[in-house]
């Protein structure tokens, strides 16, 4: 097998056994980026010299017999929403086109400690707002399975980079499904951890109470190891939870005995495409064959999730993005008459349509006279959604559902229909509102060879359970052969 087709575990093994050096591995992925990225357009910046230099250092440490981090020598692609000291961090926005952070995000620091090597920063919807990566100010990323189709979003670059074998691992962020949906579209594994599991320090905020950084990988074990590397308490993030991080990489291969999988009617109703339905049902059969029990559950408030989300997320976004005013850093308009004019023109010129749409939505929802009816009501719904899950998890270990209603849509297909685009997050949003972990694992292919994912949701801080459950499916099947028609 070619180097770039290998999983993280296989790459680590070949380094341990002296078959491959980190330099060889990094070079192979850089070559693959050279070969494929002019078509896929996942990367916003590539750092070949630095990556090779860092790989060389890892190789030297290996030969010196030094203690190495969990992922030493393994390449990774970083969503361009995490601050990297001295390296441009754009958030896919003209606003931050030339913004060079003076500090590393907590996750970036942890990655450096683990010895992982950044190949570069990858594309995303502007400020992580979108489900197709079409909202990037810089380029349109294609789905590696068919570049006329979208890779999903907002972590479309992260998913496409892994899906196209340009990196074995990537970092994404998930506010309403932004890891799981593109993972599903691109046939990779992606997890949104429990809110508070991974520090948000240095993650450029979209919606603070929903944002979470998570791993994406070409297999479950890679994702598990990557989460292990980045998870844990950080005193700089007040919402980071001080709770021990289990060794996900150690336990991922242990199947779950007597697994009870909850299935909610609400996830299989109107709007769900036949191919996805079939694929998900097939995957449940795979679990049954391994002794799992499928249990019907109910999540009665999930129908309000999209509405609540599109009040809470834009409200927080309208506030989080207010700092981009052209005063201290970022884009500033050339021509202005006065201060207010400078604010308005800088923001007007540098933000894209979707960002403006959400800022307006959020500003409206928080305005006096509307706050109670919109924002406060949405918070109440959010509590009810969390309650639904708490009750469900009294009966089941995990909840299985589709990730999206259909496989990857075509680029441009939904870009004029924001509401249809918003509805593409219908199965993923609840986990963000409830703060729960969720994983997307590929379970099959559509008739036109586009990947289909299965979503597994778990109780707070049960990422370990999700990795093991996902691995049970992965181990048992070769999903690329499971074509539905």
């Amino acid at each position: 097998m070619s180097i770039v087709g290998k999983t993280t575990g296989e790459l680590l093994d070949s380094m341990n056994q002296g078959e491959l050096s980190s330099v060889e591995i990094v070079q192979a992925f850089l070559d693959e980026i050279g070969r494929r990225d002019n078509e896929v357009n996942a990367f916003l910046s590539v750092r070949p010299e630095k990556a090779l230099e860092e790989a060389k250092e890892v190789d030297q440490k290996i030969s010196a017999g030094e203690q190495l981090g969990l992922l030493a020598g393994i390449p990774i692609a970083l969503k361009d929403v995490l601050c990297t000291e001295g390296e441009t961090t754009t958030c896919g926005s003209k606003m931050l086109e030339n913004f060079v952070p003076p500090y590393d995000a907590h996750v970036v620091q942890r990655l450096k400690k683990s010895g992982v090597i950044s190949l570069g920063k990858v594309n995303m919807d502007e400020f992580a707002m979108g489900s197709s990566t079409e909202n990037s100010a810089f380029k349109t990323t294609g789905n590696p399975w068919n570049v006329e189709h979208a890779p999903g979003g907002s972590s479309g670059g992260s998913a496409a980079a892994v899906g196209a074998n340009m990196a074995p691992l990537s970092i994404g962020t998930d506010t309403g499904g932004s890891i799981r949906q593109p993972a599903s579209f691109c046939g990779v594994v992606g997890m949104k951890p429990t809110y508070g599991r991974v520090s948000r320090y240095g993650l450029v905020a979209f919606a603070s109470s929903l944002d979470q950084v998570g791993p994406m990988a070409n297999d479950v074990s890679g994702a598990a190891t990557l989460l292990e590397a980045i998870a844990g308490h950080d005193h700089r993030d007040s919402t980071s939870i001080n709770c021990p991080v289990p060794s996900y990489s150690d336990s991922v291969d242990k199947p779950l005995e007597g697994l009870k999988i909850g299935v909610a009617d609400e996830h299989f109703g109107e709007g769900l495409g036949d191919e996805v339905r079939k694929s998900v049902e097939n995957s449940l059969d795979v679990y049954r064959s391994q002794g799992a029990k499928i249990v019907n559950i109910s999540l009665p408030h999930s129908k309000y999730a999209v509405a609540a989300y599109y009040l809470i997320a834009p409200s927080e976004a309208s506030s989080n993005l207010a700092r981009y005013d052209g005063v201290h850093y970022g884009y500033r308009t050339e021509n202005f008459d006065n201060m207010i004019d400078m604010y308005a023109a800088s923001r007007g010129e540098a933000f894209g349509d979707e960002v403006k749409r959400r800022i307006m939505l959020g500003t409206y929802a928080l305005s006096s006279g509307y706050y109670d009816a919109y924002y406060l009501k949405a918070l109440k719904v959010r509590r009810l959604i969390r309650q639904d899950f708490d009750q469900a998890f009294e009966k089941v270990d995990v909840i299985a559902s589709p990730v999206t209603a259909s496989p990857a849509f075509k680029i441009g297909e939904l870009s004029d229909d924001p509401l249809a685009m918003y509805l593409s997050d219908i199965y993923t949003i609840s986990a963000n509102l409830a703060g729960l972990p969720g994983i997307s694992v590929p379970v099959g292919l559509s008739g036109n060879d586009l990947p289909i994912g299965l979503q597994l949701l778990g109780p707070a801080f049960e990422e370990d359970r999700l990795f093991r459950a996902a691995r049970m499916f992965e181990k048992e099947t070769d999903w690329k052969t499971l074509k539905v028609s």
Partner: protein, 504 residues
């Protein structure tokens, strides 16, 4: 027609924490080196997050207890959103509907009358940076200094309970005294660590007895105690004129915001951000709510120590001070009262100690513009070397004051304090000798001088006058004796002269 001034104050107090409210930058007044006390958090770099400073919260709780506010068991942070270059996040982290403390009061006394001023709430928030505009008139770029950005502030909102400018000033002074006593803030108005906005309106009683409230005006930029007083007086006059002209009542017009021009002594209309402002407050999702247990509240109460009002009462009781003296001493701040108590204890005479402090010491402090901390004479030195010598009739009170003045003059020239108490005492001893101020108790020497004075031809008239019942005549004779023997005790001299005249 008559009117009553109604004043409510909003006071912002910077807490003297080591670091800022939500980041680790030092909290120091440093206007000369802009933007050196900054980090990704207080400059609102993308991705940075706030973390609450526990020390700030604990100083805030002390503040609340001192102004008799109840402390909430649950409090949270809200974002107050508006655009301004000195506010890099474009929102201020503050507290909206659940402040950490509410419902307090402050007792003040104005013209002998006790007044209880209600306090609606006190909440904790972060300060903004400072915009600096080109004042040359050439239209240069404005600059922003973020050193101050993120400094912890407690905003204390009073009820509209003050009925005059003098009451407002007294409230502020008592508040400042209180907060400096408990060491939560230096309350330096010049440096902006205590800032005040005043809400002023009038309650007019018309000739037919009808009561009408005039529109409320908020006066900002009040940066001295005198300024607060003058601005309120000016505002009341201005509002009275406007009412007589227009008859406008509260509610007829939007609340107006005015600035205070200290040089011209006038308030002026400002473009009110209040007019159209919708701050879109909502809970800050980057921070977690704060819970406070009953034990923690009790610990704060226990840590406060004696507050100024209690100290005044104790001084009156314990040292038999007049209300006035106790008030003067306590109003000088915690260190001054500690100095006073030390002097009082060392000399065993609280009244004498108070006389010395409120007269000699305070006068020197004011003239030389030094604080009690920098005062060159220690409390022990003052008590043992000067006050006790008077008590023991080693020198007269007048001499002690002369020596004190001399010591202060020497200090003024050398700017050096007087070593240890022993060295100081030797210096006092030396001055007594040099200046010839030792009290002469040797009656032999004194008798000789008195006899000589009484024998003088020119003094015979005075002697006759005294015999004729003119008591004052003895003064001139005493003066002559004292001139010759500087250290003579006036009482002894007087007694001797009178005895001798009576025996003539």
């Amino acid at each position: 027609m008559d009117y009553q001034i109604i004043v409510g104050l909003e006071v912002h107090v910077q807490l003297q924490t080591k670091t800022k409210l939500f980041c680790g930058c030092v909290n120091l007044f440093n206007p000369d080196n802009p933007n050196v006390q900054t980090c990704p958090v207080c400059t609102a770099m993308p991705g940075s997050l706030p973390v609450m400073n526990r020390e700030a919260f604990s100083l805030a709780m002390k503040t609340a207890v001192a102004i008799n506010c109840g402390i909430a068991s649950f409090t949270k942070w809200d974002r107050k959103q508006y655009y301004y270059p000195d506010l890099p996040k474009a929102y201020q982290i503050s507290q909206f509907d659940l402040p950490f403390s509410e419902n307090g009061f402050l007792d003040i006394e104005v013209d002998g009358e006790q007044r209880k001023i209600g306090i609606i709430r006190a909440h904790l928030e972060e300060d903004a940076g400072k915009n600096m505009h080109d004042e040359s008139g050439k239209g240069g770029d404005s600059k922003v200094d973020l050193n101050r950005c993120g400094t912890p502030l407690v905003e204390i909102v009073s009820e509209p309970d003050m009925r005059s400018a003098a009451e407002a000033k007294e409230y502020l002074e008592e508040l400042k005294l209180l907060l400096t006593y408990i060491d939560v803030s230096d309350c330096n108005m010049q440096e902006g660590s205590l800032r005040c906005d005043a809400n002023v309106n009038l309650h007019v009683t018309n000739d037919d007895g009808e009561k009408i409230a005039t529109p409320i005006v908020e006066v900002k930029n009040l940066n001295s105690f005198r300024g607060v007083e003058l601005a309120i007086e000016y505002e009341a006059d201005r509002q009275w004129d406007i009412y007589q002209e227009t008859g406008l009542k509260i509610g007829d017009v939007a609340k107006e915001t005015r600035g205070w021009d200290a040089t011209r002594g006038k308030t002026f209309g400002q473009r009110g951000k209040e007019d159209a402002a919708d701050y879109r407050y909502f809970p800050d999702p980057d921070l977690v709510p704060v819970t406070v247990t009953e034990e923690e509240k009790q610990a704060v109460r226990d840590s406060l120590g004696e507050l100024p009002a209690a100290r005044r009462s104790r001084f009156i009781e314990e040292y038999s001070l007049s209300k006035y003296d106790a008030s003067v001493i306590v109003s000088q701040g915690n260190s001054f009262t500690l100095y006073y108590e030390s002097v009082a204890k060392s000399c065993g005479d609280g009244k004498q100690a108070a006389n010395w402090l409120t007269q000699e010491v305070l006068r020197e402090m004011n003239e030389r513009k030094i604080s009690i901390e920098d005062f060159p004479i220690t409390s022990d030195g003052l008590a043992t070397s000067l006050i006790n010598r008077v008590r023991d009739k080693k020198i007269s009170i007048k001499s002690a004051k002369e020596i004190f003045a001399r010591l202060m003059e020497d200090f003024g020239e050398s700017n050096e304090s007087y070593g240890d108490n022993k060295a100081f005492d030797q210096r006092v001893e030396q001055l007594i000798e040099e200046m010839g101020l030792a009290l002469v108790s040797d009656t032999g020497e004194l008798e000789g001088v008195v006899d000589a004075v009484l024998a003088k031809e020119q003094n015979q008239k005075a002697i006759e006058d005294f015999k004729g019942g003119k008591q004052a005549a003895v003064g001139a004779l005493m003066g002559q004796v004292m001139k010759q023997i500087k250290g003579a005790d006036a009482q002894t001299v007087r007694k001797m002269i009178i005895e001798k005249i009576q025996n003539m």
